[in-house]
Amino acid sequence: MNLSGKASDVVTTTLDQFELGQEGEIVHLDDNEYTAKLIDMGLFPGKRVKMLMKAPLGDPVGVDVEGYTLSLRLKEASSVFLKSV
């Protein structure tokens, strides 16, 4: 068993894979052109996120971020890694 406790050992899912109602805690954001904007909007490691709704064509999605609702495209959501809580 690995005791180092690195984040990479936790099973993570990206936000675009979340089912309706699924909740998770952000552990990591991919470094890409969306990262800075995602953090600006309050999506950073430690935050709890819940999948609230999906647009009729599945994209974009609406998520609850500890009290407010954000809409993001699947492409943007795919750079958010979460562990289940």
């Binding site: 954001l29 470094d31 052109e33 969306y34 990262t35 800075a36 904007k37 995602l38 953090i39 600006d40 909007m41 309050g42 950073f44 490691p45 430690g46 609230l52 709704m53 999906k54 647009a55 009729p56 064509l57 599945g58 994209d59 974009p60 609406g62 500890e66 009290g67 407010y68 609702t69 954000l70 809409s71 993001l72 495209r73 943007e76």
Partner: protein, 689 residues
């Protein structure tokens, strides 16, 4: 410290604009920032008798680091002490129900060393959500900032805020909110930070250890790291400030319920379509009578001027050039005001962002995004307010494409042209027992506009280069009742912008067109006038007929008339004669002028709906060269197609110039639309001939 200049900073939907409206009321106006297309909202606020301060409402933003053109303005103003807009006091508006996220921009403004009053709003919402905030403690943990809570809806707390501005003492930020020390925890990133660290211009090369050193970075990766550090510190501090209690109401619960309905795969679109139908129904029924009234008033005004002033060039210019020109601007006000009233209601309530949410995926293949939908659809009423409404689109490329294609949507000014031509060439037959062919053709023209708009958008998507990556990370705010005061001020602002900024251009072009239509080679006009037999008595039917014929030959021999004849070889392949050529040129300023020009050309009153004479006259018109009817099916449909695509509206051009701040775009737009109109009309004529 005497405060002279105050700026408002805060998240979108934080109640910032409501607060601005409370502070300035009608003492506000919209100006420009040099070189960019962002509106500058500024005004005056009377703090007490004789003490007036200037207030700037900066664009809503989540961070000092700009992700759009609007947000760039916030950064450049707050970091440039040399600018005349640089504030000596900044009100940071924070949404109490979203304190953590709203405070990010506060800590950044704080680290810029700017004097601040923190203005929490929506405390009632927070209270209902079970969030209890200890403001005294909040002020403490944020570096002894002055806090003035207000209710931006009711105006409660505004007087206290004014008093606080009046008595604002010198600020002394002893400690930065975050310092280089805070970065040490992100051990593996310290080196990166040391490399990219750039002291703010104001720090005069002071040592970085203890002194107040704002940290601001250029590259997005470091910006992200810094923002995360700020958030984590805010989060820790708020632990001492916020206590959770029992939720009182179901505001957020209600919002969820409405969302489930309006984003439903079927009902979502049904509701959206229903709301649009309602809006257009209202625009057409409410805008019609004020528009007719404006039309009548300007018509009789021009008539009165002509009769009362001594005849001469000046009187003619006033009565036939300037007054109708001003009338041509004013006539758009009812539509602009109504459309903006509805758009403002959709935005205020929070429904607009749901429209964006359900439409985004559908619009993306066309190089547009969810935010393009409402401007595009508004184009069916009038392209002018539609293009003004593209402001909400953050990405310049998406916004530009929306601006460039919106005038292809069939606006209400095309309706009189379509109606005349359909009456002229489309037979009155029923199809399948229920549908009338005339109705179907009209529907087809609207669809044609929509298809062309989307098609051109796809093309432009490949041609125009993006300045920034397109993203749609946006807040879906809770539903709220609209604030009527804000809506009223929005209508006022948009109408003012249109009348002053577009009005100048429209008036100038109206006068030029009038001169070209009223004057021509003197000898030529004289000969033409003399060739009409003058009736012996200056009254009665014969005299009226003579007057109409006089107008006809004057127009035919004016510069525009000559131009119409000159372009005949160019438009002949479309099935048009020189008379249509004249109408095309006179209606360049506004397409509906086509009907009036036709009436003048055929020397007939222009009320074709009540009086069939114009249609009868046009229907029997024979082309002397071919011996055929001029208005064949081919020519008629070709003309409709031409008007569906051609720009033919200088008010729109003036607004495009205003919104893009570059002559290039309205010129490109006119060129591509005219070319498209020409080719499509030619093809139509070729196929139907």
């Amino acid at each position: 410290m005497a405060v002279e200049r105050v700026s408002l900073v805060g998240n979108p939907n934080s109640g910032k604009s409501s607060l601005f409206n409370h502070l300035t009321g009608l003492n506000q106006h919209v100006g420009n920032y040099p070189g960019v297309t962002v509106d500058k909202k500024e005004g005056f606020c009377l703090l007490e008798k004789g003490k007036r301060i200037s207030v700037i409402d900066l664009p809503g933003c989540y961070s000092i680091y700009p992700r759009s053109e609007d947000e760039r303005i916030v950064q450049s103003i707050l970091t440039s002490p040399g600018l005349k807009e640089y504030p000596d006091l900044t009100l940071v508006i924070v949404d109490a129900s979203n304190l953590e996220r709203s405070l990010l921009i506060y800590t950044q403004v704080y680290d810029l060393g700017l004097p601040i009053i923190l203005v929490p709003t929506m405390i009632d919402v927070a209270d209902n959500e079970g969030i209890d905030i200890d403001f005294k403690k909040l002020a403490e943990v944020l570096g002894c900032v002055t806090i003035c809570p207000v209710n931006a809806r009711t105006g409660e707390g505004i007087e206290a805020l004014k008093k606080a501005m009046l008595t604002y003492g010198n600020s002394h930020h002893s400690q930065p909110f975050i310092a280089i020390d805070d970065f040490k925890q992100t051990a593996d990133k310290t080196r990166l930070l040391a490399d990219s660290y750039r002291p703010n211009g104001k720090s005069n090369g002071q040592s970085t250890d203890n002194a107040f050193v704002p940290l601001f970075f250029d590259d997005p990766v470091t910006q992200g790291i810094e923002t995360e550090i700020r958030y984590k510190k805010i989060r820790r501090l708020l632990g001492f400030v916020i206590s959770k209690k029992q939720k009182k109401s179901t505001y957020s619960h209600l919002t969820r319920k409405i969302d489930a309905l309006v984003t439903h795969p079927v009902w979502g679109y049904v509701i959206f379509a229903g709301i649009l139908t309602l809006i257009f129904q209202a625009i057409y029924s409410f805008a019609e009578w004020p528009m007719n009234l404006i039309d009548d008033v300007f018509f009789s005004f021009s008539y009165t001027v002509k009769n009362w002033l001594p005849p001469g060039i000046f009187t003619d210019l006033l009565a036939e050039g300037i007054i109708p020109g001003v009338g041509g601007v004013v006539i758009f006000i009812p539509q602009i005001a109504l459309l903006f009233a509805f758009i403002a209601i959709l935005e205020e309530t929070g429904y607009m962002s749901r429209v964006v949410f359900i439409m985004d995926k559908l619009m993306r293949p066309f190089g547009l995004n969810g935010k393009s939908v409402v401007p595009l659809i508004s184009g069916v009423a009038c392209a002018i307010p539609a293009i003004m409404a593209t402001r909400s689109i953050d990405q310049w490329k998406d916004r530009l494409i929306t601006i460039l294609v919106t005038p292809l949507m069939s606006c209400s000014a095309r309706l009189p042209v379509y109606t005349l031509l359909i009456a002229l060439v489309i037979p009155d037959i029923a199809i399948g027992g229920i549908f009338n062919l005339k109705g179907l053709v009209l529907l087809g023209l609207y669809l044609l506009g929509l298809i062309a708009a989307l098609g051109v958008a796809i093309l432009l998507k490949w041609i125009i280069k993006a300045k920034q990556k397109s993203f749609l990370i946006m807040e879906l705010p809770m539903y709220k009742m609209p604030r009527w005061r804000n809506i009223l001020l929005t209508i006022l602002e948009k109408t003012k912008v249109f009348v002053w900024e577009a009005g100048k251009v429209i008036l100038a072009i109206s006068i030029v067109l009038w001169v070209l239509a009223s004057y021509g080679p003197a000898k030529r006009i004289e000969n033409a006038v003399n060739s009409i037999p003058k009736p012996p008595v200056e009254e009665g039917l014969a005299w009226e007929d003579y007057q109409q014929q006089l107008n006809t030959v004057k127009l035919e021999n004016s510069w525009i008339g000559i131009l119409g004849k000159t372009i005949e070889p160019v438009i002949a392949p479309l099935g048009y004669d020189w008379k249509i050529g004249i109408a095309l040129i006179t209606s360049f300023a506004a397409r509906e002028v086509f009907v009036g020009s036709m009436a003048t050309i055929y020397s007939i009153g222009e009320d074709f709906e009540e009086n069939d004479s114009l249609i009868d006259r046009m229907r029997t018109e024979i082309n002397p060269a071919t011996g055929q009817l001029v208005y064949s099916l081919g020519t008629g449909v070709s003309l409709m197609v031409f008007y569906a695509f051609a720009m033919q509206c200088m008010s729109t051009l003036a607004i495009v110039l205003r919104e893009t701040k570059n002559w290039k775009w309205p010129l490109i737009q006119t060129a591509y639309m005219t070319l498209l109109a020409y080719l499509a009309a030619w093809l139509t004529y070729y196929l139907l001939k």
